[in-house]
């Protein structure tokens, strides 16, 4: 029995230690919340670290006492004297009412300070409006008159003030890029605010975290922080009108199919169409991923997608249009020039 208990105790400790170790140094997890890459996420992380240590102490204390008690005070034989019938101890009980209360009070002060700290948007931030759709993201840079989707381009080192606008006809989504900031919900009919900035250029993965239907799992996004100069260049490129297909190419046929097959009803291409049910495609080819950042933008992926969108992304609102192989080739050719 005792060896079994000891084994159990050891098992408990062994189960917990690697958890802590691995959680702390996971390097291959692009959405790790414990590896902040910006001041906002770092503030949250700074707050949780001491709490983890307090929790670790309490954890070791309680588990240690429980295991110790079960081993030390186990019944050895039936004739051993009965224990003293202790009914309670007011002083002790007051002590362990007040002690946790005090510890929590100490934790509460910096927590509340940080809450208020983070609720203030920094000046001179870049304004971006994020709208959640089933199951993709719309980004509007009102300062620059740019609309894009799924990939959020930001200048590294500069604060971005995000307005989360809930489309009244849609469902709740939650915008989250863990290495930059905690998540904020996008609620129909409401407007929420958040802000963050990235320390360095890089690609930061995120995804929708409020269950939003069939393809909730496929509603991913990425924030791409560029060096300021490159960001300015990106802005200029996005502001430019879309490239027009050269006469007699597949791309031109694709352009014609875009209107003929009804794509234009849902997708905006600046100067070509004004549909707004699906993502803006004006500079589609400048994005590295599509369909809620689910697929890399490659011809093969586009082919699968155009053949049957709900087939590869359950619940996608874009229907299978019954396009022939040839039509798909041409549409891809057109999409590829939209850089």
């Amino acid at each position: 029995m005792i060896t079994r208990l000891r084994k159990g105790a050891r098992r408990g400790v062994l189960a917990v230690l690697p958890l802590v170790a691995l959680a702390a140094c996971a390097k291959d997890a692009p959405q790790d919340t414990l590896q902040p890459k910006g001041p906002v996420s770092r503030q949250a992380d700074d707050l949780i670290n001491p709490v983890f240590w307090v929790a670790a102490v309490v954890f070791v204390l309680v588990q240690g006492l429980a295991i110790y008690a079960v081993i030390k005070f186990r019944q050895r034989d039936d004739d051993s004297p009965e224990p003293v019938q202790v009914h309670g101890n007011t002083r002790l009980e007051v002590a362990w009412t007040l002690a946790p209360a005090l510890v929590l009070l100490i934790i509460a002060v910096p927590t509340i300070r940080t809450i208020f700290d983070l609720s203030r948007t920094p000046d001179n931030a870049l304004n971006v409006t994020v709208v959640g759709h089933q199951f993709w993201w719309e980004y509007r840079y009102d300062d620059f008159d740019i609309v894009t989707a799924n990939e959020l381009y930001i200048p590294a080192g500069r604060s971005v003030a995000i307005t989360l606008e809930g489309n009244p006809a849609d469902v709740i989504h939650s915008f989250w890029v863990p290495s930059l900031a905690g998540k904020q919900d996008i609620i129909p009919g409401r407007t929420n605010k958040m802000h963050f900035s990235a320390d360095a250029p890089g690609v930061y993965l995120g995804q929708c975290t409020e269950f939003c239907g069939l393809s909730h799992a496929n509603m991913r996004n990425r924030a791409i922080a560029l060096p300021p100069a490159e960001f300015d260049e990106w802005v200029r490129n996005q502001q430019a009108p879309p490239r027009e297909p050269a006469a007699g190419t597949d791309a031109e046929d694709g352009f014609l199919l875009f209107t003929a097959k009804g794509c234009a009803g849902c997708h905006t291409i600046s100067g070509v169409s004004t549909g707004n049910a699906g993502p803006d495609l004006t500079h589609f080819a400048s994005r590295s991923t599509f369909a809620g950042s689910m697929f890399d933008t490659t011809p093969a992926n586009l082919r699968t997608w155009l053949d049957n969108p709900p087939g590869v992304k359950p619940g996608a609102k874009m229907p299978a249009l019954g396009l022939t192989d040839d039509e798909i080739t041409k549409l891809i050719a057109y999409l590829e020039i939209l850089q």
Binding site: G8, G12, A15, A26, D28, A29, P30, A44, I48, V51, F52, A55, F59, V62, Q63, L65, A69, V70, F73, P81, E82, P83, V84, Q85, G88, E93, T97, P100, A101, L104, A108, T111, I112, T114, L164, P168, A169, V171, I172, S174, W176, P178, G182, K183, I187, P188, G189, R190, N192, K193, L205, T209, E210, F211, G213, L214, S215, H216, A217, P314
Partner: protein, 661 residues
């Protein structure tokens, strides 16, 4: 089918809940197989969403709640020294409504698809989802709500009004207290979710706009209503298990519960504070820094009474004489696992970091440590502990220990990694995830762990199966402390041949033991003869095995032969045995009835009619309910040819006094 005996109904609740536990567990295994590997195609997105919704709904509403209700139903009257619950037929009605609601909910799998909007049913997704899936959820939960509400009222009245003479509130066993607090929480929380479900029902069925942002409504209303119910619900699920553990630890440490009064008060405090923390489920919804701070503080504060409980449990074991039996192992498992859940709970109150944790697997880890490591471990402890009371037989200790260690290991292997996955940014409620996120290894580990849990549950089933043939054991095999052990196992329909007179907390223990000058427990030298007779005898159960003895019939004779002698007027009180013949003649038990069963079946009929918008069926369902309630009301409670028996003096209502020991 017609029984109104609270013990049979308690067992019916428990067995049904266990069957749903198996179903919910199989659903969990399917979810784990799907998530064991990245980009898995074992389940479609639609199937996954239905199964995770049903897993959550099942485990909360069809497993933990009814299992707690089953235990409470069986034990509360026994523990407070009552003959039955206050409203036996309402009790039966509650069970049948629960079963009808569960079957109704599960019928959706065969009628076009199960609910798929999550157990939390967030509007507007739940109002916009096409098909009837969410309608089953809306109506199913309303039906189950009726069941829980009737149960809550019944148990509250039972505990308040039917206590044995001398059983003051502060002499009640702690399980009775914790169940009472949980039932009060139910009483107040269920109407809130019922309102929310009604609003959602109107949105879905009649095109109302309660949660329609396009019509100017605010979908956040749903979350406030839902969590105003949903957070107290957590304590509805955990408090009875806390009570179970608080019964087990003293018995197997051979010491009284440390700080009984503080335990009671902390339980009540948890009940109260539980109402003030609902918005901590909504830190990411943009409720503003002031509200956020307030709910952050209240969330932290609830750790105080919980911490008190944990330290009191440890103190109960401290310097005791601990017997590591299966119930004790599960109880200690509860304390340790629940601590982990409590600690991760505190981290949710660190709001800036909570916005990183919330809706990730970290949360899934947290509430499984509370609800599985807590509630389920506690309830399994209770099942092992009270099994000899239910059946007169012990479950095998060897298999019990196998189950415990398998379950503990499997549980930690499953839900421990969830902490890491969540902190590594894996969201919950995703049917799949891509390779390269760093989640593969721990997901596979969790899937392996989940099958170990399944194996542990199989061991339990084998244990139950084998226990059929095990020999009968004495009535009080654990040398326990509370009243239910002072009567035969399984108890006769009327519970107590003579209603006990309670003189102390843990009255039964004090009949057997007194404290010497050092405060050590020593066997009483002069035990009441009936107590002596009961300790170590195993005869009445033989009679019981052939069916419970009818009141005043041959069974009473049985009683008389076993409980020889009498401690008449003895200050220790006499519990069973003496004068049974005289007393049981007057015991009046309610007669069985079909009407609770019949009337409960009207609810699903009414609901089907509403879901499919086919008026005649709903009208039929409505008339069915009304008609059967009418018949129920007119049915005499005793067969007419029997003369209405005189109420024995011992069945008079106990005076409700607030005094302490």
């Amino acid at each position: 089918m017609t029984t109104v005996d609270h013990k049979k109904i308690g067992i019916m609740y428990s067995v049904t809940a266990f069957i749903f536990f198996i179903i919910g567990g199989v659903e969990a295994l399917m979810l784990r197989v799907q998530l064991g590997t990245p980009d898995s195609t074992f389940l479609s997105a639609e199937a996954y969403n239905q199964i995770f919704t049903m897993h959550g709904t099942t485990m909360i509403f069809l497993v933990v709640m009814p299992l707690s209700a089953g235990l409470a139903n069986y034990l509360l009257p026994l523990m407070v020294g009552a003959r039955d619950v206050a409203f036996p037929r309402l009790n039966a009605f509650g069970f049948w409504v629960f079963l009808a609601g569960g079957l109704f909910m599960y019928s959706s799998f065969f009628l076009g698809g199960a609910p798929n909007g999550g157990w939390f049913g967030y509007a507007p997704l739940s109002r916009l989802t096409p098909g009837h899936n969410m309608d089953y959820w809306v109506f199913g939960l309303q039906i189950l709500g009726i069941a829980s509400l009737t149960g809550a009222i019944n148990l509250i009245v039972t505990v308040i009004n039917l206590r044995a003479p001398g059983m003051t509130l502060f002499r009640m066993p702690i399980f009775v207290w914790m169940s009472l607090v949980a039932q009060f929480l139910l009483l107040f929380a269920l109407p809130v979710i019922t309102v929310a479900l009604f609003l959602l029902m109107f949105d879905r069925q009649f095109g109302a706009n309660f949660f329609n942002a396009q019509a100017g409504a605010d979908p956040l209303l749903w979350q406030h209503l839902f969590w105003l119910f949903g957070h107290p619900e957590v304590y509805i699920l955990i408090l009875p298990a806390m009570g179970v553990v608080s019964e087990i630890l003293p018995v197997f440490s051979r010491k009284p519960l440390f700080g009984y009064q503080v335990m009671v008060i902390s339980g009540i405090a948890i009940g109260f504070i539980g109402w003030g923390v609902w918005a901590h489920h909504m830190f990411a919804t943009g409720i503003g820094p002031v509200a956020t701070s307030a709910f952050s503080a209240s969330t932290m504060f609830i750790a105080v009474p919980t911490g008190v409980k944990i330290f009191n449990w440890l103190s109960t074991m401290w310097k005791g004489k601990i017997r590591a039996t299966s119930p004790m192992l599960f109880a200690v498992g509860f304390v340790t696992m629940f601590t982990i859940g409590g600690l991760s709970g505190v981290t949710h109150a660190i709001v800036p970091h909570d916005t990183q944790q919330t809706d990730t697997y970290y949360i899934v880890a947290h509430f499984h440590y509370v609800l599985f490591g807590g509630s389920i471990f506690g309830l399994f402890g209770g099942i092992y502990y009270w099994w000899p009371k239910f059946t007169g037989k012990l479950l095998s200790e060897t298999l019990g220990k196998w189950q415990f260690w398998l379950m503990l290991a499997g549980f930690n292997l499953t839900f421990g990694p969830f902490h890491i996955l969540g902190l590594q940014g894996m969201p919950r409620r995703v049917y799949t995830y891509p390779d390269g996120m760093g989640w593969n290894f721990w997901n596979m580990a969790a899937t392996v762990g989940s099958f170990m849990i399944a194996l542990a549950v199989l061991v339990f089933m084998v244990n139950v199966w084998k226990a059929r043939k095990s020999p009968l054991v004495p009535e009080d095999p654990w040398d326990s402390r509370t009243l239910e052990w002072s009567i035969p196992s399984p108890p006769p329909e009327y519970n107590f041949a003579k209603i006990p007179v309670v003189t102390a907390r843990d009255d039964w223990w004090h009949q057997k033991y007194e404290e010497d000058e050092n405060g050590r427990a020593v066997r009483r030298k002069e035990m009441a003869p009936d107590v002596v007779a009961l300790l170590g005898r195993r005869s009445s159960a033989v009679a019981v095995a052939d069916g419970p003895p009818p009141p005043g019939g041959e069974g009473a004779g049985d009683e008389a032969t076993t409980g020889t002698g009498s401690g008449e007027g003895d200050d220790t009180g006499d519990h069973t045995g003496d004068h049974t013949g005289d007393h049981t003649e007057h015991i009046h038990m309610p007669s069985p009835s079909y009407w609770p069963l019949v009337s409960s079946l009207g609810l699903p009929v009414l609901s089907y009619g509403l879901i499919y918008q086919y008026l005649p069926v709903s009208v039929l369902g409505g008339l069915w309910i009304l008609g059967s309630l009418y018949a129920w009301a007119l049915e005499p409670s005793t067969a007419p040819e029997e003369p209405e028996p005189e109420l024995s003096s011992s069945t008079e209502l106990a005076p409700v006094s607030q005094g302490t020991d």
